[in-house]
């Protein structure tokens, strides 16, 4: 057993070395690496497993305004396995695996103080149920910019893993899982029927109330939600609202659950609340609006079109670094965003990300290591050069990384994950590195309204018609009166 563990670790190290070797030939490859460290995982996806992690930084002496890129390489020996009681009904349509590696920046750094490297991968239900462990996939690089010269440090944080089911059904009552919870406010009671027709609620019971103003609050993480309830003759209008905790409410709608055929109550009716939200944590509130009429909650259906680690999925698993992980000291040098090219550069070859070669002494050397090799120069405008292929990897894995033209806020990232025993797997992704605006709105802003309008065209035409008619009528009357007047006038006396 011990041998198998040791062999596994050796294989992991070799794999990481191969992957790092492949990455070493790339322009965007990091100059300094830390690890591998064995992160210990806790959570439904990996109870007690470990994952090997290599963390690389582009430079230990970046210039002011120069992005410092942090790259995570995750070992291919994944501890992830979907094996929990939710599996049978929560993952029927697959799920999105989201991974975030977090590095804390202290000292001279600006912003929120963390550098997140993220990645998302979709797995269908069949793959999720296979006995093989689930690959962690690749995570994109994170980056940070120093605002002034000085010394600071990077602290390696945890690896956060979430699995967001593409569609999942949550019963009317359940134990809290991740950020999922449900609470009832008022005089709700369980009802298991039976109703006429023989249909039964999901899992045998549902919650109901007939008091006006009673609410049920279902907190979930995803991009959309439905209420599964019923329609019956003793039911009436209820209100659904969805919010993310901050005003304004994202969605509000009143549904009518009245169904006049008393002999045929309709169970498992879907009342769609909302869809297409940005992935995140929201609360669906069901509110009974009619006194004496029932509102019923059978279950909730949650959709996730994508995922990230901003909120906890029911499968939230956290892999923590070992206690002895040292801080990574960083010295920020003077230099404009024009690039370190003007400075005394002492190119340092990208170190092969092996475990031994950059332990403790490397960080404090004064031997001039303002490496520029990895970080795209030009401040916020990474060059985004295509990565050449032909890596030094013994497996001969090419790294075709075209990926289109990066926008100014994008970094072309090439992450190589070497597989063992499977052949080398190369993933190339163009990603937005730590966007400062987390959700970019679509299009423009509707910040104006029509001012108070003048007379409408209809009113103008009516007024005109009135004036014209009056004028014509007046003229006619005047003419007739004049003619009559002329007729009455006595003629010349003979």
């Amino acid at each position: 057993m011990r041998w198998s563990v040791r062999l596994r670790k050796i294989a992991t190290v070799l794999a990481l070395g191969v992957g790092a070797g492949a990455a070493a030939g790339l322009p965007a490859s990091p100059a300094h690496a830390e690890g591998p460290y064995y992160f210990t995982c806790r959570g439904p996806l990996a109870p007690g497993g470990t994952v090997a992690v290599n963390i690389s930084v582009s430079s230990r002496e970046p210039a002011v305004g120069q992005p410092l890129v942090v790259q995570w390489q995750l070992g291919v020996q994944s501890p992830l396995k979907v094996n929990d009681p939710f599996d049978d009904r929560k993952l029927d349509k697959g799920g999105h695996l989201a991974v975030t590696g977090r590095v804390y920046a202290t000292g001279v750094w600006t912003g929120r103080g963390t550098i997140d490297a993220t990645g998302t991968e979709f797995y269908d239900a069949e793959r999720l149920r296979q006995p093989d462990n689930l690959p962690l996939g690749a995570v994109a690089n994170g980056q940070v910019i120093a605002s002034n010269p000085g010394t600071g440090a990077l602290r390696i944080g945890s690896l956060v893993i979430d699995l967001a089911p593409a569609e999942s059904v949550w019963d009317d009552r359940f134990d809290d899982a991740g950020d999922f919870s449900v609470e009832y406010d008022g005089v709700w009671s369980a009802n298991s029927g039976p109703w006429a027709g023989g249909e039964t609620p999901i899992n045998g019971s549902l919650q109901q109330t007939s008091r006006q103003g009673d609410t049920a609050r279902f907190t979930f993480v995803g991009t959309g939600v439905d209420l599964i309830g019923m329609k019956n003759v003793d039911m009436s209008r209820f209100e659904l609202t969805v919010d993310d905790g901050y005003p304004p409410v994202e969605y509000r709608q009143v549904h009518d659950a009245y169904w006049d055929a008393a002999a045929e109550p309709r169970l498992r009716e879907t009342f769609t609340a909302i869809d297409g939200l940005p992935y995140g944590k929201y609360t669906l509130t069901v509110k009974n609006t009619i006194e004496g009429k029932y509102a019923r909650v059978d279950a909730f259906r949650v959709r996730a079109a994508t995922a990230d680690n901003s909120a906890a999925s029911p499968y939230r698993t956290v892999c923590r670094p070992p206690e002895n992980v040292p801080l990574i000291p960083i010295t920020v040098t003077e230099g404009g965003p024009g690039g370190p090219g003007g400075g005394p550069t002492d190119p340092q070859e990208p170190s092969p990300t092996d475990s031994g070669d950059n332990g403790d002494g490397d960080g404090n050397n004064g031997g001039g290591t303002p490496s520029t090799s990895a970080t795209p120069s030009g401040g916020p405008t990474p060059s985004g050069s295509a990565s050449p292929s032909g890596s030094a990897s013994p497996t001969g894995s090419g790294t075709p990384s075209s990926g289109g033209t990066p926008t100014p806020n994008q970094v072309l990232v090439t992450t190589t994950v070497s597989g063992s025993p499977r052949p080398t797997q190369t993933v190339t992704a163009t990603v937005t590195a730590s966007p400062q605006v987390r959700i970019t709105p679509v299009g423009a802003a509707a910040t104006g309204e029509a001012p108070a309008s003048g007379p409408s065209p209809g009113a103008l035409m009516a007024l005109g018609a009135l004036l014209l008619g009056g004028g014509l009528a007046g003229g006619l009357v005047s003419r007739r009166r004049r003619a009559a007047h002329a007729g009455d006038r006595p003629g010349p006396t003979s």
């Binding site: 305004g65 600006t110 912003g111 929120r112 910019i145 605002s147 002034n148 901050y246 005003p247 304004p248 994202e250 969605y251 909302i274 297409g276 939200l277 940005p278 965003p337 401040g379 916020p380 926008t407 100014p408 806020n409 730590s434 400062q436 605006v437 987390r438 959700i439 970019t440 709105p441 679509v442 299009g443 423009a444 802003a445 509707a446 910040t447 104006g448 309204e449 029509a450 001012p451 108070a452 309008s453 409408s456 065209p457 209809g458 009113a459 103008l460 035409m461 009516a462 007024l463 005109g464 018609a465 004036l467 014209l468 008619g469 009056g470 004028g471 014509l472 007046g474 003229g475 005047s478």
Partner: protein, 272 residues
């Protein structure tokens, strides 16, 4: 006792001789046809005006008070020209749209480092002394369609901070929106088009910090070609974007054709 000579009669109030009422006498006889003719002509004019108003697309131009140059909309045509930088704004300077690939304007004042910002810090007020703006701030998200939310139209003196972006003073482009007007009249950012490079914007935060931003430039862009990257893209300083509406109002589409966008950079901070 009165001493009055014989034959004296006190003066009698002079009354015009009573005349029987005749309508034709109110106006001179010759004026009546002219009045009727005028009424007919006015009626015809009103009908024509009503028809014109009905048939032509009804738009409201915000530039009525401060005439501006026509905005350049076409960015794809070979003959169109869009300046490579965002303009400085100010009197006599047209608010044209910069080229789609143009970067945000360069800082007008020396930028200062961003302010340390906790997770609970929020902006609470914005002030632009040069425009007479002082308004509270609410938080805004995105609508279901993915568009940015806006403050309620009913509150004219209320602006909104986009909460999925940085807090003003934090690294990155903080975004604040305000209406240009509503049905009752001018709203909080009605005069935003008058702002110019070098003027100051003050944002008060919930942690007591007042972030002073200096305007770098201003542009008027067509909503069809909104420069998303320039507005929301990463920056190397603490930046601020103010957005409101501009151009003409199209009643059929229930919106203005353009946006006014102000770019600013953090230039100072102080305690409130």
């Amino acid at each position: 006792m009165t001493n009055q000579p014989d034959g004296y009669r006190p003066p009698q109030p002079s009354h015009p001789p009573a005349q029987p009422y005749r309508p034709g006498r109110v106006l001179p006889r010759a004026a009546l046809p002219a009045v009727l003719l005028l009424a007919c002509l006015a009626g015809i004019a009103a009908i024509m005006a009503g028809l014109l108003a009905f048939l032509t697309p009804v738009t409201t131009t915000l530039e009525a008070e401060a005439p501006q140059e026509i905005n350049v909309v076409n960015v794809g045509g070979t003959g169109s020209y869009l300046p490579p930088t965002v303009g400085p704004g100010g009197p006599g300077v047209p608010l044209t749209q910069a080229a789609p690939t143009a970067p945000p304007p360069s800082p007008a004042a020396s930028p200062v480092p961003p302010v340390a910002t906790g997770r609970t810090v929020r902006p609470v007020r914005i002030a632009i002394p040069d425009l007479g703006v002082s308004a509270p701030l609410m938080r805004l998200g995105v609508k279901r369609s993915g568009e940015i939310q806006v403050p309620p139209l009913s509150r004219r003196n209320l602006a909104g901070w986009y909460r999925h972006g940085p807090v003003p003073g934090e690294l990155g482009p903080a975004v604040i929106l305000g209406h240009v007007n509503n049905r009752q009249g001018a709203a909080v950012f009605a005069r935003l088009r008058e702002i110019r490079r070098g003027q100051k914007i003050y944002v008060t935060r919930s942690d007591g910090v007042v972030a002073e931003f200096t305007v770098d430039g201003v542009e008027q862009v067509s909503k069809k070609t909104f420069p998303t990257e320039r507005v929301y893209g990463n920056t190397t300083e603490a930046a601020l974007r103010l957005i409101t509406c501009g151009g003409v109002y199209d009643r059929k589409r229930h919106g203005y054709s353009d946006n006014i966008i102000v770019y600013a950079t953090l230039s100072n901070t102080r305690a409130a």
